[in-house]
């Protein structure tokens, strides 16, 4: 039941506790419209990675609701594997499968989850590999590629599933500085093509360039959720101002 006008991701009062004493997410409410790029930032331990992992139910949450393309994650009737297959996810540490060649990494879920034939999956995988500029590495294993190359493969692997939205969990945090650009370039291109994206990152340059909105989190709460121009122009909270002054200082 896809709804053309409605938001792709809707979160309402999402709360999560690791233990009765420790609440990681407090009443988080926000949404991501179709084709919108939302950057989530905040100090470490603020819950931003946890929040984004709740969107495809990788992390359970105890209160609130999340809907993706109109489908309620907490509904017992929801086929979570099927829903997850439609949401691409890119991790901080790439998480390519080390024992599989690059092409096999790209084909595995296409074949096992979407039921595509090997030829079909291979054609799709090769096209995406070409798109991220790594065609000549098709036959290699992940351990034989640099971090930046692995992350581009990871993005291609997620795109091979024809996702309706992409989640990025600190995609450049584990990369050497000279490799960050090659990954961001791929993400900028994706954003410009109209992909719905939720990106946890500290790359404020990326946020300025392509984000529509910026969410600032601290201690499990969404402190600011505003248009990019407003956020960079005059963040209302002291906490966000302090955070920005620290990461934009150099």
């Amino acid at each position: 039941m896809s709804n053309a006008a409605g938001p792709m991701i809707e979160m309402a009062a999402v709360s999560k506790w690791y233990s009765p004493q420790f609440q990681v997410l407090k009443d988080c409410t926000t949404s991501v419209a179709k084709g919108e790029v939302v950057v989530v930032c905040g100090p470490s331990g603020s819950g931003k990675s946890t929040l984004i992992k709740c969107v495809n139910a990788l992390e359970p949450f105890q209160a609130g609701t999340i809907r993706v393309d109109g489908i309620n994650l907490s509904d017992p009737g929801t086929d979570l594997p099927k829903l997850r297959a439609r949401i691409g996810m890119v991790f901080q540490h790439f998480e390519l499968f080390p024992h599989l060649r690059i092409t096999e990494n790209l084909c595995l879920a296409q074949e096992k989850v979407l039921g595509r034939s090997r030829d079909e999956a291979m054609a799709k995988g090769k096209a995406l590999l070409d798109r991220v500029g790594l065609s000549e590495h098709a036959g290699k294993f992940p351990g034989q590629l640099s971090g930046g190359q692995q992350q581009r493969v990871a993005i291609a692997r997620a795109l091979a599933m024809d996702p309706i939205a992409m989640l990025f969990d600190e995609p450049t945090s584990a990369l050497d500085p000279e490799m960050i650009t090659e990954v961001l370039d791929v993400m900028v291109e994706l954003a410009r093509e109209g992909m719905t994206m939720m990106v946890v990152t500290h790359e404020m340059g990326f946020a300025r360039k392509v984000a529509h909105r910026v969410i600032f989190m601290d201690r499990g709460e969404i402190i600011e959720d505003r248009n990019k121009e407003e956020f960079f122009g005059s963040p209302r909270s002291d906490r966000a101002q302090l955070f920005l002054s620290k990461i934009l200082a150099h």
Binding site: K53, N56, L58, P81, K82, R84, A85, R86, I87, M89, F91, Q92, H93, E95, L96, F97, P98, H99, L108, A109, K112, V113, L114, K140, F141, P142, G143, Q144, L145, R157, A158, M161
Partner: protein, 243 residues
């Protein structure tokens, strides 16, 4: 020491009428190989299953897996074999107990299954450790792609976990072979039992046990060699452990 060395004893006929003394030992080796092979398969199948179960998010399953491991690894192998061989048939309904007692090659089946289950607890421990040693993100990546839990284990976690635990699994395979000798206590005429028989028939104790020692040594050295080749064959190019 007044000992009459006779290395030619192996070519002399044994009093059982089943060929030479060497034939006697080789018959024992056959039972050792058969018992070890079946025990290794049982250890691997049950060990892998229990090891996986202990990493699942279900508390009940984890407890059941833990109970299995604690039961089979905390009781001496010798006591376990006695339990299966002498005690179990008495605890079963009369007909089932009778069937067990009259089973052809009962000591072989009991020995292989007993050693297999004992070793399964150790394999389970290693499979669990292998899975746990993988970055948490690996399972997440599989799940995020839409793979089911079973598919994530089959295609993502287990292929790497087994590669990582191959060296300790080799040790467990060797232990499985060596532990089959305990089955002589329930009457299995495997290599060690045959060696003792040879010593009793011929009084050539040093020759007999020298031969047994060499046979075990060559057998396990060959297994080690094969496992090393397997390790090299499945090594992942460019993969560095310790992430």
């Amino acid at each position: 020491m007044n000992y009459n060395w006779n290395w030619g004893i192996f070519r002399e006929p044994n009093p059982e009428g089943s060929g030479t003394y060497l034939d006697l030992l080789l018959m024992g080796l056959n039972w050792t190989l058969a018992t070890a092979a079946l025990a290794a398969v049982i250890a691997l199948v049950f060990g892998a299953t229990i090891g996986v179960i202990r990493t699942l998010p279900s508390r009940g399953l984890v407890l059941a897996g833990d109970a299995w491991v604690e039961f089979f690894r905390n009781i001496p192998l010798l006591v376990q074999l006695f339990l299966w061989y002498f005690v179990l048939p008495e605890l079963l309904p009369k007909a089932a107990g009778m069937w067990l007692k009259t089973l052809p090659n009962a000591s072989f089946w009991t020995g292989a299954i007993g050693v297999g289950l004992f070793m399964s607890s150790r394999v389970a421990e290693q499979v669990k450790a292998g899975i746990r040693s993988l970055p948490r993100g690996q399972a997440m990546a599989g799940t995020a792609l839409g793979l089911t839990t079973a598919q994530t284990y089959r295609y993502v976690l287990l292929p790497m976990a087994f590669r990582i635990i191959l060296p300790p699994l080799t040790s467990e395979l060797l232990n499985t072979v060596k532990n089959t000798s305990v089955a002589l206590t329930i009457g299995l005429m495997e290599l060690t039992a045959r060696t003792r028989a040879m010593q009793e028939y011929s009084f050539q104790v040093f020759e007999a046990f020298t031969a047994a020692t060499l046979i075990y040594l060559v057998l396990n050295a060959s297994l080690t060699f094969l496992m090393r080749r397997l390790e090299r064959a499945v090594a992942v190019p460019g993969y560095v452990t310790g992430k």
